[in-house]
């Protein structure tokens, strides 16, 4: 903790690097997962091959996966980000597909039969209904990405992993290890908490309870 207080500027810069890597990863991952999920939703038979392949990647240790990308992108943040994107795909795609498939067919048929076009069905019906499940997946992906980004320091990507690896390399610098570990944890908790709050805010059942409360109030006022 002392190290963080003594070197706030340096730690802050590493935090920013770490966050930047994580956020870029999540942005690319979502942009990739969306079309993949829609493809699986449209053509069911793609479910097993796509999710199967992504699942296989998920079982490869993160260190090995990053190494695989080094020949392609070089020894830098790009290789780390590519590995993290691939890693989070299985989580995001699976959650999106489950969310889409959980929408009752009658609801989609009603939307179509009432004259919504594809775009309107997506934004007015599908997005609000899959949002809670999607955000749950995004939250898990964020935590996974923050963890893997730590290893990124070994590949010249910077981030809070730098403190950990420095601490290990330099004898007796437990303060750096502590500082890195604490900072990563705080970052993970913060992002997790923020996404959890968002997930809670968009959850339809919360609205349900809220309005049930209103109904109860109403009933109470009627009976009084």
């Amino acid at each position: 903790m002392g190290y963080i207080l003594n070197n706030p500027a340096q730690v802050w810069e590493l935090v920013l690097q770490h966050m930047q890597m994580t956020l870029i990863t999540l942005a690319i991952a979502v942009l990739l997962a969306l079309p993949l999920s829609l493809l699986i939703y449209r053509y069911r038979w793609l479910n097993v091959p796509i999710l199967g392949t992504l699942g296989v990647f998920y079982t490869v240790p993160s260190l090995a996966l990053i190494i695989l990308f080094v020949p392609l992108f070089g020894l830098n943040a790009q290789s780390v980000i590519a590995a993290m994107v691939l890693y989070t795909q299985v989580i995001l795609v699976r959650n999106l597909v489950v969310g889409l498939q959980a929408i009752p067919p009658a609801v989609m048929e009603a939307a179509k039969g009432m004259g919504m076009n594809t775009w309107q069905r997506w934004w007015q019906v599908q997005v609000p209904l899959i949002l809670p499940v999607f955000l749950a997946g995004l939250r898990l992906s964020a935590v996974v990405a923050i963890a893997i980004a730590t290893i990124g320091a070994k590949f010249g990507a910077g981030g809070l992993g730098t403190l950990l690896f420095d601490g290990i390399a330099q004898a007796g610098r437990y303060d750096k290890i502590w500082a890195g570990a604490i900072a990563v944890s705080i970052l993970a908790f913060a992002l997790n908490g923020a996404l959890l709050a968002l997930q809670w805010a968009v959850n339809p059942t919360r609205k349900l309870y809220k309005s049930q409360g209103k109904v109860r109030q109403h009933l109470a006022s009627v009976t009084e």
Binding site: V107, E109, M116, P204, L208
Partner: protein, 322 residues
């Protein structure tokens, strides 16, 4: 002008060896309620879904209000046609008011107009707006959900409404209440309704005309009375359960058997009265209970016909001879 017209409409699903709908010709008059009736797999839902272009026919043409529906954009056509489906299909993340407001919103109505339309429709389907406007579908019973489904279909004030077994998954008592509601709305609003059902009693109760389908083909298209009394063939006879006379009476309306009131007919106050939409079974029960020789048929307080035991017997005996 016919509200809906099918002209040699056929549909074969890819990979299927037989026609799901086979050369259907049928004209549906403006303001009538037509029930498409038949066993499962006879193509009734397929026929219905071609009207709002959820399915496209392989051959033939469908006209809605005189216009070939292929010449209208599918989304635009659907916004002009009300649609009610079996599991209500309400949007779970929207309140009752938002659900009903979907089509008006698509049509680009102003907010205040949508709001007043929502309240008007909730009143129409007997759900007090103050109580129901802000509820979510999960907070409604099956019957209430289906009422909202009907209100939602009416929201854009369409002239044509399609109903795909709307009360199929609802208990018998609620179903009867909803059927009454449909009859009332139909009288009040004069919409053209195409209604899919596999329930004979429901068809007889609601329909101005019944379209009987078997294996994608029209077997008979006629009034409930004519279908019961002059079934086109053995299939229709059995489907309708035409041998059960008391059941038949329960399903025929007074107006199908009565004779018109003679000119200058005056209702003497002692005679029991009945309305033209009551069933012959109720009429028979009333005659037996009161011992009256005849009943006066009233509509809005005015005598429009008379009904005697002979009338009832005649209407029943036609069925026997057929």
């Amino acid at each position: 002008m016919n509200a809906i017209e099918f002209s040699k409409v056929s549909l074969k699903f890819p990979g299927s060896p037989r026609w799901a709908v086979d050369e259907v010709d049928c004209e549906i008059e403006q303001g009538k309620l037509v029930v498409i009736l038949g066993p499962s797999g006879c193509g009734k839902t397929t026929l219905l879904k071609m009207v709002n272009r959820l399915y496209e026919p392989s051959a033939g043409t469908i006209y809605v209000n005189g216009q070939d529906i292929r010449r209208v954009q599918a989304t635009e056509l659907r916004q002009q046609i009300g649609y009610v489906i079996q599991q209500s299909g309400l949007f779970p993340h929207m309140t009752v008011a938002q659900n009903i407001g979907v089509v008006p919103k698509l049509l680009g109505w102003e907010k205040p107009r949508i709001q007043s339309r929502v309240d008007e429709l909730l009143n129409l389907v007997a759900l007090p707006p103050g109580d129901f406007r802000d509820r979510y579908p999960a907070q409604l019973s099956g019957g209430q959900q289906q009422r909202v489904g009907v209100a939602r279909a009416l929201a854009g004030d369409p002239q044509v409404i399609l109903m795909d077994e709307p009360f199929g998954a609802i208990d018998a008592i609620t179903r009867a209440a909803l059927q009454d509601e449909i009859l009332r709305l139909q009288q009040q609003l004069q919409k053209t309704i195409l209604f899919v059902s596999h329930d004979v009693e429901e068809a007889l109760r609601l329909a101005d005309r019944i379209l009987i389908l078997k294996a994608g083909q029209v077997v008979q298209y006629d009034t409930p009375f004519n279908i019961l009394t002059r079934p086109a063939n053995q299939f229709v006879h059995e489907l309708m359960g035409a041998d059960d006379m008391v059941r038949q009476l329960g399903l025929l309306r007074v107006e199908t058997a009565m004779s018109d009131a003679p000119p200058n007919y005056r209702h003497n106050g002692a005679e029991p009265t009945i309305t033209r939409h009551d069933s012959l079974r109720e009429a028979l029960s009333l005659i037996l209970r009161t011992g009256a020789r005849r009943l006066t048929v009233l509509e809005n307080g005015i005598a429009v016909g008379v009904l005697t035991l002979e009338h009832i017997r005649d209407s029943a005996s036609i069925g026997v001879s057929a």
